[in-house]
Symmetry: C2
């Protein structure tokens, strides 16, 4: 292994690549990782020298607080390769800002910007062969921070580990998805951590999601925990409704993740002169719109799922099919979004970031 | 190292004990661990052969779901040593049942009872020197389950690790504690995971707790997330109020942990002919009771903290001191509870469990 220090970063390269063992055409989301990983420890009140090493298991004490108190936050972003083999990120500053918003809410130290971008770029350059060309192909990038201090008192840790691992992916949901609107379980409360990408938010959704999957549906659409009358978001996607020609989505709040795909779609809609209504959305109005035919589309948006149409939703015992028009907004948004991401279309808003 | 298989359990003993390096009189909560640990992996749809090994770091993939989605639950229990060197647990069946209630809510497999008790007993016999005699001394026992499967898709893992680690402790809070009643932040929602010992519930409290600690208080008393009008529980304790001679505490719900100390205190109160009112408790009535002098005590109950009196509470800008009578309920409850735990008093309800 070669061992170099670049820009205050220690780099240990993998002796050989695992890439030839990977069947890129048949790849499950998030199971295969690239040759390298980035990590940086927080200790003695500061972030230490970052490292890139071969992808490998961690050695961590069983008393590390992440195991007991879920003090962990993460991000999800993607790198795309264009026709000329250039690699692009999409709005990475927003992911950087958001991981620190999440970290703050969980009483974790914020990660420095130079370390984040320097680590990310160096890692992606090393592993650029893992970013595959082609529509839907991407390298999913997972920055995360965990509380590593070996002590189980119920208080914020003094030691953390920031890491970036990367996994080649294809599209997340292969089929149209069918959802159930939450009436009993809830995802987050006012004053809680719903707006953060806090690890515990996700495990909390697994059981209610499993229950709906047992009945042939795919995901839960979360509603407000108080009344279950307002539609909020899905497990890993924000939600949009098209009512006639208007696009409607819930405002962000301390219960809802401020999705980067969501805000990009809102901008793309505006760029296409589509009216966007950002306001609380009731279950009642969506059911009525489904009944009177004014509900034209429902779709989710997220980095992993990109833009995912929802073909049916269930509320109580009623199931509503969403009958889409021929030309869908979600189809157009997805195409325009991906054309920006893959460096095919003009980048009017400065969203692309070249590696 | 000797390496034996006992009752379908693999046991690797530590070559030497670390116990002589420990200053038992000056010990921070949860920083020092005993010589051994218990672990058992879930794989291929079932729990594998359990192991006891020397306490040591884990080797775990950075993509393990516990790091990303907080799929982790835990328990907290204590072992006590009596005058004749016998070691006792307190209501361990309740901890066993509760970890499986928590596991179920987080879509994790339940742990088998024989494995739990066999592991616990074998571990405590090996490390019994670590259970120290004396009022307040105990061995804190931390069973926990983490999602270890190396794959970052946002769904329940297929692989888990159940572990028990043990840490010698003294009393948790050394002083009387001052609390702030939550008005903005919240701990859990209806339909959420507040009733479970889910890892993520704890990290979510760190930041609001840090904020109150910066103003000279110690803990937050959580209120219902909707109205902040009802008093629920503290970060790791249930909460009791004494109004004149009556004991009042909130009912358990899907937002509140069903504390084992809480229900033991309710029983002890009844055994002492003290009236116990289990009903929603409003912030308003407690403030009024503080003003008119009918509020005699507030205290928290929990395995780590045992019974901890609260000397003052803050709501908005108002601070209320709790002026206790000479003979407190909490003093009596703590004495009677500990006398049962340390095998000093009669065990009327069959709460003790001999190792
Ligand atoms: C809860 C939740 N909502 C929405 C999203 C979509 O956010 P983004 O578009 O930034 O990926 C995600 C995933 O990142 C999420 O975890
Ligand atoms: C949130 C919460 N409430 C209450 C308690 C007290 O429960 P127990 O008495 O079973 O320790 C704990 C700690 O275990 C807890 O974590």
């Amino acid at each position: 292994m070669s061992n170099t220090i670049v820009n205050e970063m220690k780099i240990v390269k993998a002796e050989s690549s695992k890439i030839q063992d990977v069947d890129f055409d048949n790849i499950d989301f998030g199971r295969v990782f690239t040759d390298h990983m980035f990590s940086c420890d927080f200790k003695d009140g500061k972030w230490q020298t970052p490292e890139i090493t071969p992808y490998q298991p961690l050695t961590i004490d069983p008393s590390a607080r992440v195991f007991h108190y879920g003090q962990a936050v993460f991000e999800g972003m993607k790198a795309f390769k264009d026709d000329k083999d250039a690699v692009w990120l999409f709005r990475p500053e927003d992911n950087f800002n958001r991981i620190n918003i999440s970290a703050k809410r969980l009483a974790m130290p914020e990660f420095p910007k130079e370390y984040f971008f320097n680590g990310l770029e160096t890692l992606l350059k090393l592993d650029k062969e893992w970013v595959k060309k082609g529509d839907g192909n991407a390298l999913y990038i997972r920055p995360f921070i965990i509380a590593s201090e070996p002590a189980i008192s119920a208080s914020p840790a003094e030691e953390y580990k920031f890491m970036i691992i990367c996994s080649p992916v294809k599209a997340y949901y292969k089929d149209k998805i069918k959802v159930v609107i939450a009436e009993k379980y809830s995802r987050s409360a006012d004053g809680g951590v719903g707006f953060a990408k806090a690890a515990g938010n996700y495990a909390a959704q697994f059981y209610p999601t499993k229950l709906v999957q047992e009945t042939g549906f795919h995901q839960v659409i979360w509603t407000d925990a108080n009344t279950h009358e307002y539609l909020e978001e899905a497990g890993t996607m924000n939600i949009f409704f098209r009512i006639n020609d208007k696009l409607v989505t819930a405002p962000t709040s301390d219960r809802i993740l401020d999705g980067i795909t969501r805000k990009s779609i809102i901008q793309i809609a505006k760029d296409n002169n589509i009216e966007v209504d950002i306001r609380p959305v009731t279950v009642k109005e969506i059911k009525e719109a489904a009944k009177d035919g004014s509900l034209k589309e429902i779709f989710g948006s997220g980095t992993a799922a990109v833009v995912s149409p929802i073909s049916a939703f269930k509320h109580g015992e009623e199931v509503f099919d969403v009958v889409e028009p021929e030309n869908t907004y979600h189809g157009m948004f997805k195409r325009q979004l991906m054309d920006i991401q893959y460096n095919i279309a003009e980048d009017k808003h400065g969203w692309r970031y070249k590696i």
